[in-house]
């Protein structure tokens, strides 16, 4: 049986509602969840608080996403994220940022922004990311929200598909995340969305929610090649 991982839960770890959300995630079939903390609020204490939220059947990990799309000084922001969280990602929307992010050792995943006006994830970046054992992350809820409100035009979907094909060509795993504040999405629905909208194979879609994020969180895809300590698995 697969154990699904919910990546990027945007919730305050100190809020009362977090317990309800975690129970809901467990009911939907998730066995691990990654709580996303803004880079400015990240500290050792926050990481410990997040990890302490773990339940009997649900492991809770801490993550930080640095947004290179809106923050021009994202490299300094990234350098200030210490200690290294369980899962560290950089959201990119430009070729130069994508090339830079694929080279940085501490980064676990590169998030492809769906509001892209050009193809920015190319063979050079993907190859480098595969060499440093990163993954490429597809944020599902922004894609679904833009699709529903008809703001995501077909050209953007095409660009996303091309970028995922490039990743597949070099053997770079795809992980699906759901960075939304609303109700969590069921694993089978998330995999269906990935398959139907972005033409990712069904097994690959399921792996994107289970095997690949689990491998990162357990430390298998991480850091023994990059020269950092492994995270708790």
């Amino acid at each position: 049986m697969r154990s699904f991982v919910y990546l990027k839960l945007r919730a305050d770890p100190r809020a009362q509602e977090i317990a309800t959300t975690l129970n809901e995630l467990r009911r939907l079939g998730y066995r691990a969840v990654v709580v996303d903390i803004p880079p400015g609020e990240w500290s050792q204490e926050v990481r410990d608080e997040v990890r302490a939220l773990s339940l009997h059947n649900l492991r809770v990990y801490a993550s930080v996403e640095v947004d290179a799309e809106s923050d021009p000084d994202w490299r300094s922001t990234l350098a200030r994220v210490r200690p290294i969280p369980d899962y560290l990602s950089v959201k990119v929307a430009r070729l130069t940022d994508a090339r830079a992010a694929s080279l940085i050792k501490s980064v676990d995943s590169v998030v492809l922004s769906p509001s892209c006006e050009e193809v920015f994830w190319d063979l050079v970046s993907a190859r480098e990311a595969a060499r440093t054992r990163k993954v490429v992350e597809v944020p599902l809820s922004p894609i679904l929200n833009q699709l529903v409100s008809l703001r995501l035009n077909y050209r953007r979907i095409r660009r996303m598909k091309i970028m995922l094909r490039v990743s597949k060509r070099v053997g770079l795993p795809i992980v699906a995340s759901d960075p939304s504040l609303g109700r969590p999405i069921q694993p089978s629905l998330a995999a269906s969305a990935l398959t139907s909208i972005l033409s990712v194979g069904w097994e690959e879609s399921l792996d994107s929610l289970s095997a690949h994020p689990s491998a990162i969180l357990s430390g298998e895809r991480r850091l023994f090649l990059r020269g950092y300590d492994q995270v708790e698995g």
């Binding site: 050009e118 190319d122 050079v124 050209r155 095409r158 598909k161 091309i162 490039v166 139907s196």
Partner: protein, 119 residues
């Protein structure tokens, strides 16, 4: 810095020289009108997900002569021509004529016997 994509991820480039011929004294549509009509025709004919598999854009277009060049790829070529034909019919009483198809702009100029620089 240039985007480098592996072979086969996107189709092989095709350029289509076309003319939009008006019925009667009406002027051909403007570039923006044609582009908008093409986008609507693509969504109407193939939907969002179907259109996402297609690559087509107007490379050159002259609103005065109605001549233009459509950029597409070998996989999307028949769909792109259908979209262009539908769009031409949608913006007014126009018909579409294809003057030539080629993989390069130079080859296209040779085939369609009209230098693309004058478009």
């Amino acid at each position: 810095m240039r985007v480098k994509l592996p072979r086969g991820v996107v189709g092989r480039r095709r350029y289509v020289a076309f003319t939009i011929v008006p019925h009667g004294p009406k002027n051909p549509p403007s570039r923006s009108e044609l582009e908008r009509a093409m986008s609507e025709a693509a969504l109407y004919l193939f939907g969002v997900l179907g259109s996402a598999d297609l690559d087509f854009s107007i490379k050159f277009y002259s609103g005065r002569s109605g001549k233009g060049v459509l950029k597409t790829d070998n996989r999307s070529l028949p769909y792109a021509l259908t979209i262009l034909m539908t769009a031409a019919a949608a913006v007014g009483p126009f018909t579409l004529e294809v003057d030539g198809v080629s993989g390069t702009l130079r080859g296209l100029a040779r085939k369609s016997c009209s230098p693309t620089k004058t478009l």
